[in-house]
């Protein structure tokens, strides 16, 4: 509908489109600031973790095993894969390929849910096999469950966010030119990915 005329008017900038462009820019900057302060939140807890870990008690503390790298690596692969599908979802939307967009969105949502399932499996194993808990395993429990839990919560919110975006796009909320919500969703999902890279390195690799 509006697609053809938008292409014709690309150089004219109708007032309405300019309005949209300005709103989108403001929201984009605002959203980036929001993500940035979220980075600060994670960084603060990461600082706390590294501070406690280097406070001379040895790591991991007495009686606590190292977390399972193999399972976490598999989970990481799932999450990074979802980053790729998210990227293709947005690209297909930009090119007007709705069904491919929807397919990649659904794939992202499923991969996100699989990551969360993996986390539940990991937590359960730590609890049942090793009796590691949030409050009862010293600074390991405190930092590990708080940070990975915060990240998991972000993934959970992200899954629901993506479901909402998918439903919205089915109901025609976004057009080929006006899709700020999808941009924000993609940014958020990549942000969650990047945080995981850091958490994976500091808990499982070093």
């Amino acid at each position: 509908m509006a697609v053809a005329s938008a292409a014709l008017d690309a150089q004219h900038h109708e007032p309405v489109d300019q309005l949209y462009a300005e709103t989108r820019d403001m929201r984009l900057i605002g959203f980036l600031f929001f993500l940035f302060s979220d980075v600060v939140l994670f960084s603060s807890f990461i600082f706390a973790y590294l501070y406690l870990r280097n406070s001379g008690q040895g790591w991991p503390p007495q009686g606590v095993p190292r977390p399972d790298v193999a399972l976490a690596a598999l989970n990481s692969a799932i999450l990074f894969g979802s980053g790729a599908t998210m990227h293709y979802a947005l690209e297909n939307w930009k090119h007007g390929k709705f069904f491919r967009y929807a397919g990649f969105m659904i794939a992202t949502i499923i991969l996100g849910a699989m990551f969360l399932t993996g986390q539940v499996v990991e937590y359960t194993a730590l609890y049942t096999k090793e009796h590691v808990t949030w409050g009862g395993s010293g600074i390991f429990g405190a930092s590990f469950f708080t940070l990975t839990g915060m990240h998991g919560f972000h993934v959970l919110v992200g899954v629901f966010y993506l479901i909402t975006l998918l439903l919205q796009s089915v109901h025609g909320v976004y057009s080929k030119d006006k899709y700020f919500g999808l941009t924000a969703g993609t940014l958020y999902w990549h942000f969650v990915d990047v945080i995981w890279v850091v958490l994976f390195s500091i808990f499982y690799l070093i």
Partner: protein, 560 residues
């Protein structure tokens, strides 16, 4: 920026919404930055009264060396709540949410902030947090001081957990406000308003907003961890369970040193507007003042551990933190000298606002100098935990921030309300406050030297005489603040009509009626130069219709 080309484009900044109807939408859940600003100011002043009464309880208790007015436990609750409320419920909300909201969008030539609904949400978190904080008195208020160092803050009743939640809430509010202001300043400046044409108050808010965003989020993490440890037993800070109390100090001061600048940078902005207006002279060193705010904000992130010289900080860390703290004195000194040079040779109008601004210069400089003392490790080891500290930060926060708030109120009250504050009462307010303030806080410096510890309900009888001087002076200070409130109540109804520009100010908020229409400007003006050059014509175009009775063109069209 091509000025004329931008002006013709009717973008989002130029859009006028229909006027909100009904009391609730206009004054309670308003999305108008000016109403929200006034809501912040009123709420902040209510908490100023409450926190001020707590201060007077402290002063009454300290009239006698052996106390006896309130129990030591209650005393702990009272100074903890006094500090917490003054920092988070009075100064920060007033200087950012209050003055910031009302003034800087007008100075930018904007119709509102970038996200008006978010602005409303930010405001309403603030009174909720305040009520939560004060209701902790019912369940056993926090007792570990406003800094809430563990392990003491891990003990005690549920009040400390309520403190965590309340401060977390005002923190989120402050973070969201910071984001909102950043986007507004980046994206909603009037055509021609380049960064180096922005009024200095806007620069001050621009330097403050990232501090609110970043530092406050770090505090949120520290508070969340304290809350989790208290409520769910998650070991972060308790040394008996592997945690570290010093970790809290790092995270707390990583916020609370920048918070000092959240409380003072906007006030620097107020002073930078008041001085040129009443000296009738361009502000000296515009760029120096503007950029030094940013320098202070950035450097402020690298000095937090100067609060921890007695906490077992390694000596090789003490030295850089000491030197970095010294360097902050440089941009601050640049500001002080620029302001003095602004006054130098000016045609000074001795209004109450100017008196408060000059009082600010004197008292803030004094507090800044004792701050340099304290930044020196050997001195700090001696003065830490004594009344010298209490004297120092009250000179910065009361002599600095609160004096600046009063300067801003006398300056902008006509814009808020359309009426002038009474200048005679104002001058009584100033002189009584100035005398009472110095009588209260100056003796603390030598009492601290002599070894009087802070946060203790009783003290050595040799200090009693000066403590009585302090208490009596504090009553004078309280009386002066009472005069201020009386002045506001009387002037709101019976004050002289202000007109749009009673002081001959040159920034954009003075170009429109007082109080402004809900849409601020009938037409968004175009800006051609800095506002402060009193010998030149005003550097704006497109303001012809602002003071006549014609409705704005956009709304006039809608009526037909």
């Amino acid at each position: 920026m091509a000025v004329a080309a931008v002006h013709t484009s009717g973008g989002i900044a130029d859009h006028i919404h229909p006027e909100p109807q009904g009391f609730i939408r206009r004054y309670v859940f308003s999305i108008d930055h000016k109403i929200i600003g006034i809501q912040y100011l009123i709420t902040g002043f209510v908490f100023l009264v409450l926190a001020g009464l707590l201060a007077e309880l402290i002063r009454v208790q300290l009239m006698n060396a052996n106390g006896g007015f309130i129990s030591p436990d209650t005393y702990n609750e009272i100074y903890t709540m006094h500090g917490s409320a003054m920092v988070w419920l009075v100064i920060i909300p007033i200087v950012t949410g209050g003055f910031g909201n009302f003034i800087f969008p007008l100075q930018l030539g904007a119709r509102d902030v970038a996200f008006p609904w978010l602005n409303m949400l930010s405001f309403w978190m603030f009174p909720v947090a305040g009520l939560l904080l004060f209701s902790s008195f019912l369940l056993g208020a926090p007792v570990a001081g406003w800094t809430e160092y563990p392990p003491m803050s891990l003990q005690g009743g549920v009040g400390t957990s309520m403190w965590c939640v309340a401060i977390f809430l005002v923190g989120v509010s402050s973070t969201l406000t910071g984001m909102n202001f950043m986007v507004t300043i980046l994206k909603m400046r009037a055509p021609g308003m380049t960064f180096t044409r922005m009024p200095l108050f806007v620069w001050a808010q621009l330097a403050t907003a990232p501090l609110s965003m970043v530092a406050t989020t770090a505090l949120a993490a520290a508070l969340a961890a304290l809350f989790m440890e208290r409520q769910f037993g998650i070991p972060f800070y308790d040394p008996a369970r592997g945690g570290s109390p010093v970790l809290w100090q790092h995270m707390f001061w990583f916020y609370s040193h920048p918070a000092v600048y959240i409380m003072i940078l906007p006030v620097f902005g107020i002073i930078s507007e008041v001085l040129p207006t009443f000296a009738r002279k361009p502000v000296f060193g515009y760029k120096l003042i503007a950029f030094s705010s940013v320098a202070i904000a950035l450097a402020g992130f690298m000095v937090w551990a100067h609060h921890m010289f007695t906490s077992g900080l390694a000596p090789y860390l003490q030295l850089p933190f000491m030197i970095l703290t010294f360097t902050i004195a440089v941009p601050t000194g640049v500001k002080i000298f620029s302001w003095m040079a602004t006054l130098w040779g000016g045609k000074i109008h001795y209004t109450t606002a100017l008196l408060f601004a000059v009082g600010f210069l004197a008292l803030f400089t004094f507090g800044g100098v004792t701050g340099i003392f304290l930044a020196a490790v050997p001195f700090d080891l001696h003065a830490h935990g004594t009344y010298f500290i209490v004297g120092h930060f009250h000179y910065v926060l009361v002599g600095g921030s609160l004096m600046g708030i009063f300067a801003g109120m006398y300056y902008w009250f006509p814009k808020f309300s359309g009426r002038m504050l009474n200048e005679t009462i104002g001058k009584w307010h100033f002189w009584l406050f100035f005398v009472g303030f110095n009588g209260t806080f100056l003796p603390m410096h030598w009492l601290g030297f002599l070894g009087m510890p802070r946060r203790v309900a009783e003290y050595d009888p040799q200090f009693q005489m000066w403590n009585r001087v302090e208490s009596v002076s504090s009553f004078i200070m309280t009386f002066a603040i009472l005069l201020f409130f009386i002045n506001m109540f009387v002037s709101m109804r019976n004050g002289k009509k202000a007109g749009p520009n009673p002081w001959g100010g040159r920034t954009l908020e003075w170009m429109i009626p007082s109080p402004p229409h809900y849409y601020n400007f009938k037409n968004i003006p175009t800006v051609y130069a800095l506002p402060y050059d009193f010998s030149e014509p005003l550097p704006y175009k497109g303001l012809e219709d602002e003071l006549n009775d014609k409705p704005p063109a956009q709304l006039a069209g809608a009526h037909h």
